[in-house]
């Protein structure tokens, strides 16, 4: 296969990128092409149908389903209020009357003469879609959402949890291997996205959250710390909806690991700037990785998103080894071997030779590297 390797994460100080902001259901778009939008500005809105409540009227009144129409006080489509009678019996002796009341405010949606069931629906819940990033509207999807374009720094992480957020980026360490510890986190974290170098500990994440940080970025994490943070063992990497009070992004992977120098230098350079981040990760089909975006709308137009997966690997390309025994190390492609080579596991696989920053060279399976993309 022509492209049998892992496309890398995008890490760039300046690029042009677009974000689609789409409602879960059809609704109303509030901005137009050409509008400048702010990250917390609502660009589209809709109403989610309210929850439903079922009331078994025939059981409550002791009647047969066929006769339900005779006992209903409300008809389909009528508004109802909590405590308001919706059906009742009409006995000769008034005090023997049985009344069924609505338990909610809403509308009566359905009366079934087969099941004797009445369905009430609560009022719709509004859903508002913010712009998420500062930028310009470059496209409108009628009734569904918009496309916002911005220019700036873009850092994809390998894994994240928690939804979209924004705040001031604040890198609090001076070395890519220096972890963020609770001692480095004070009350000045409030509303910020705090960053560190090495592995993030459970204690550091909790400290950041307790100090009011909206996001936290680090190189690695122990799986057991993630488990503790979430309160369950994550089985499949589909994230982004966790309600843990902070958005977390890991740039390298699980375990004790330093941040790639390039990633670190971008965080360092843009520390103090306003940024947006999302922990949403979905590995399967249409890979979605967590991201940090630092918009810079006044910068000259950058080159648009181009993936090296189109051009393939070249000697000299910078890569990261993504599996043991050299997991996390950064190097350059020294040679692209074409023939299959037997590796220690006994498998015959396509390999390449990597030259690390210290000058050492090793052979690794091509499947076990990812390009660090510009």
């Amino acid at each position: 296969m022509a492209h049998a390797y892992t496309p890398g994460l995008r890490i760039t100080a300046h690029t042009q990128l677009r974000k689609e902001r789409r409602l879960p259901l059809k609704g109303e778009v509030l901005v137009a092409v050409g509008d400048r939008v702010h990250r917390d500005q609502v660009v589209a809105r809709t109403d989610l149908p309210g929850d439903v409540v079922t009331v078994n009227v025939v059981n409550r009144l002791g009647i047969s389903a066929d006769d339900i129409g005779q006992y209903m006080l409300k008809k389909e489509g009528d508004p109802v209020a909590a405590g308001e009678p919706i059906a009742e019996t009409r006995p000769w002796i008034k005090w023997l009357k049985t009344v069924v009341e609505s338990g909610i405010d809403g509308t009566l949606e359905n009366i079934s003469s087969i099941t004797g069931q009445v369905i009430l629906r609560k009022p719709p819940a509004p859903v508002e879609m913010p712009a998420y990033i500062d930028g310009t509207v470059v496209g409108v999807i009628p009734g569904e959402g918009v496309v916002v374009e911005t220019a700036g720094a873009f850092v994809q992480g390998i894994f994240g949890v928690g939804g979209e957020n924004w705040g001031t980026l604040d890198l609090r360490v001076s070395d890519p291997s220096q972890p963020l510890t609770p001692a480095l986190l004070g009350s000045d974290c409030e509303g910020k996205i705090v960053g560190g170098g090495g592995r993030l500990s459970y204690e550091a994440i909790l400290a950041a959250r307790d100090m009011g940080a909206v996001g936290i970025i680090g190189a690695g994490i122990h799986d057991r710390d993630l488990c503790e943070l979430l309160g369950y063992d994550l089985g499949v990497a589909i994230t982004g909806t966790e309600e843990i009070g902070i958005t977390l992004i890991i740039t390298e992977g699980f375990g004790e690991i330093a941040m790639a120098r390039k990633t670190f230098s971008i965080l360092e350079r843009f520390s103090g700037r306003e940024a947006s981040l999302s922990g949403a990760t979905q590995i399967r089909a249409g890979v979605l990785r967590p991201e940090l975006i630092v918009p810079d709308l006044d910068a000259p137009e950058a080159k648009s998103e181009a993936h090296s997966s189109v051009s393939g690997m070249q000697v000299g390309d910078v890569l990261r080894v993504i599996r043991a025994p050299h997991f996390g190390r950064i190097g350059q492609i020294a040679e692209l071997n074409t023939e299959l080579r037997k590796v220690e596991s006994g498998a015959h696989v396509r390999v390449l030779e990597v030259k690390f920053e210290d000058g050492s060279r090793v052979v690794v399976p091509r499947a076990n590297v990812e390009l660090i993309e510009e």
């Binding site: 296969m1 022509a2 492209h3 390797y5 892992t6 259901l25 059809k26 149908p49 929850d51 439903v52 409540v53 079922t54 389903a65 949606e109 359905n110 079934s112 087969i114 099941t115 004797g116 069931q117 369905i119 629906r121 569904e144 390998i158 894994f159 122990h222 799986d223 057991r224 993630l226 063992d233 994550l234 089985g235 499949v236 990497a237 992977g253 699980f254 375990g255 990760t281 590995i283 399967r284 089909a285 249409g286 993504i322 599996r323 043991a324 025994p325 997991f327 037997k342 590796v343 220690e344 596991s345 006994g346 498998a347 015959h348 696989v349 690794v364 399976p365 499947a367 076990n368 990812e370």
Partner: protein, 614 residues
């Protein structure tokens, strides 16, 4: 594309459009001297699937994969973006066929009145059609009405199968389910502008009421009741409707599929349905019982065909979150750390294992570089396969497929529905497929994973799908069964050998059976099998031998407790395995003893030693 009569079918191009890769194979009829012509798989090509952005057109990947076949074979198949047909010399093909699981396959929600009855029948129906069942909603599933409605709304299935009530039975309960579906108003996964397909296959007396409730909001199709009477299942008609709707609604909404459907000479099948088709074809033609497994990155499918002739029962289950990459972390959490670690023959910290598994989850395309990593993946795969097979046991129960009657006493005795149809002593052939099994560096590793996870009893032949072409052959069998079985026998299946495993339990070191092996091309041998031991005897591919096994005491090798069995055993690329570890497999509690025992099995089979000649 025009189809040609099957007697003139000489060249076939087949593709399987998977979630990540589109695989193309070329099949050609070859004439051998002094013999009949046979179909052989000759070339294969693959390319990334192009359903997602930036291409958003599945045909792009199909053309790329076919181009690779063209380059390797020297045959001209494409004229621009058109498949040349029929074949003429070294140009063109007679038919193009395809399967698809791109975009996550076919995802369904099913509903039935009683969970253990129509709910279970509906589930079997959808699974047999190749779907992933996202949830089973039933009147008695323990959830409150609003919880059911909320759940139905949250799911975004490709279609809904609504069943319930025998003909002439309950109307109100099944209409109530329809009301829940209507109130939830679930949206289809693809195509916001079209109505969600709902299939009604329940009580025929409720049809008009169901139409009244659902017709306005959904694309409703009414078909025959899948449980017309308590004693009978009738899954065929609903399965056909699922396949039709899969093509009309789901496939037609996926990018490029409308064009692809115009190219194929037979309907595109969901990949698991095609694999199920070839399993059934093989079982029927050879008159054997078969268990097959396809372990992927995200899901594991298990297929079984038990029973002979018209009594043969096909079952399929899919374990949606048991897999070796995307879902590998879920295997660890479902199986538990101890169950994975019991297969690992070296010392390992829990934290280290957890981090390694998670790193595989977030970078699913990486492969083991070191031997230790390979052994960890093989340990996880044993547990994924074991759990998937357990789930299969739970659903392959009770009613025996289409039009097969149960006795009334079975119906009133609900325990009958819990009895599994899987009989490991009766099993003739166990077939493995999927990356971790097909691409294991040594075939003996594949053999060991299958035996450890499925624990076959008695005498069972083992095989592996060489390059994952069962889906292609499944859809081919719907066009030309002979062509499909020719290729299956000659190119698809690699026979690993035979496993002989007496069933029973005992103490380590006990003699559990004596055996004697003879044959024209085998060295005459005999010996005894000891509890906890496993032994590998050479018996090459294509060779057969006579094996007599006399079990001790209550041990059973297929002829009954303590009864001698004499049978023909088939060789393979691995050989004949005499498995004296008992059933079910058990492990010492002490870690050091357990590790030493597992290590002795690895050494007995030379599992990770010097590469063998294959």
């Amino acid at each position: 594309m025009t189809t040609v009569p099957t007697d003139r079918l000489n060249v076939v191009i087949a593709t399987d459009c998977g979630s990540t890769t589109t695989k193309a194979i070329l099949i050609e009829r070859q004439q051998y001297e002094d013999g009949p012509s046979v179909y052989r798989q000759t070339y294969r090509g693959e390319a990334p699937t192009t359903v997602e952005a930036p291409f958003e057109d599945v045909t792009r990947g199909v053309l790329n994969a076919i181009q690779e076949v063209e380059e390797l074979s020297g045959r001209t198949i494409l004229d621009g973006e058109t498949i040349i047909s029929p074949a003429d010399g070294d140009r063109g093909v007679d038919i193009y066929i395809s399967t698809s699981s791109a975009g996550g396959g076919l995802q369904m929600m099913v509903a039935g009145v009683v969970q253990a009855m129509t709910g279970e029948s509906a589930q079997r129906c959808a699974l047999g059609a190749g779907a992933i069942v996202m949830d089973v909603v039933a009147s008695n599933d323990g959830r409150l009405p609003h919880q059911k409605i909320e759940r139905i709304r949250q799911l975004r299935p490709d279609m809904v199968l609504l069943s319930g009530g025998t003909d002439g039975g309950t109307v109100s309960h099944v209409v109530e389910l329809a009301e829940f579906v209507a109130a939830a108003d679930p949206k289809p996964r693809f195509g916001s502008g079209f109505q969600l397909p709902v299939i009604y296959a329940g009580n025929k007396d409720a049809r008009s009421a169901i139409e009244e409730v659902l017709d306005d909001k959904n694309a409703l199709t009414v078909t025959e009741n899948l449980r017309p009477v308590l004693e009978q299942e009738n899954l065929g008609p609903a399965r056909h409707v699922i396949h039709d709707l899969f093509l009309e609604h789901v496939m037609a909404q996926a990018p490029g599929y409308r064009k692809l459907m115009g190219w194929t000479g037979a309907p595109i099948m969901p990949t698991p349905a095609a694999v199920g088709q070839i399993m059934q074809t093989i079982a029927r033609r050879q008159g054997i019982s078969v268990v097959g497994v396809d372990i992927g990155g995200a899901t594991t499918d298990v297929f079984s065909v038990f029973g002979k002739g018209s009594d043969a029962v096909f079952n399929r289950t899919v374990s949606a979150n048991l897999g070796m990459s995307y879902s590998i972390s879920n295997v660890l959490s479902e199986a538990g750390l101890d169950n994975v670690l019991r297969w690992v023959p070296f010392d390992m910290e829990e934290a280290d294992l957890r981090n390694r598994i998670k790193n595989k989850m977030i970078r699913p395309t990486t492969i083991p570089h070191m031997l230790e990593e390979l052994q960890i993946e093989h340990a996880v795969s044993r547990e994924a396969l074991r759990l998937a097979f357990l789930q299969h046991h739970e659903l392959a129960v009770g009613l025996k497929g289409v039009q097969i009657e149960r006795t009334l006493s079975d119906v009133f005795d609900q325990s009958g529905s819990d009895e599994t149809l899987i009989d490991m002593m009766e099993l003739d052939l166990l077939v493995g497929s999927g990356g971790v099994l097909s691409h294991a560096p040594r075939r003996v590793q594949t053999t060991a994973m299958l035996v450890d996870a499925f624990q076959p009893q008695g005498v069972t032949r083992l095989a592996v799908d060489s390059i994952f072409m069962m889906p292609h052959l499944g859809v081919l069998s719907s066009v030309d069964e002979r062509a499909a079985t020719d290729v299956f026998e000659r190119d698809c299946i690699i026979y690993l050998g035979t496993c002989v495993a007496p069933a029973g339990t005992g103490r380590a070191g006990d003699i559990i059976a004596s055996w004697h092996l003879s044959g024209d091309k085998v060295e005459r041998r005999s010996g005894s099998l000891t509890m906890c031991d496993i032994e590998l005897l050479p018996l090459s591919e294509g060779a057969t031998a006579q094996l007599s096994v006399k079990p001790e005491g209550s041990w059973d090798v297929g002829a009954g407790p303590g009864q001698e069995l004499t049978t023909t055993v088939h060789g393979g690329v691995v050989g004949l395995i005499l498995d004296g570890r008992g059933r079910p497999l058990s492990f010492p509690d002490d870690t050091a003893q357990r590790r030493s025992l597992v290590d002795s099995w690895i050494r007995a089979l030379s599992m990770y030693g010097e590469p063998q000649a294959i």
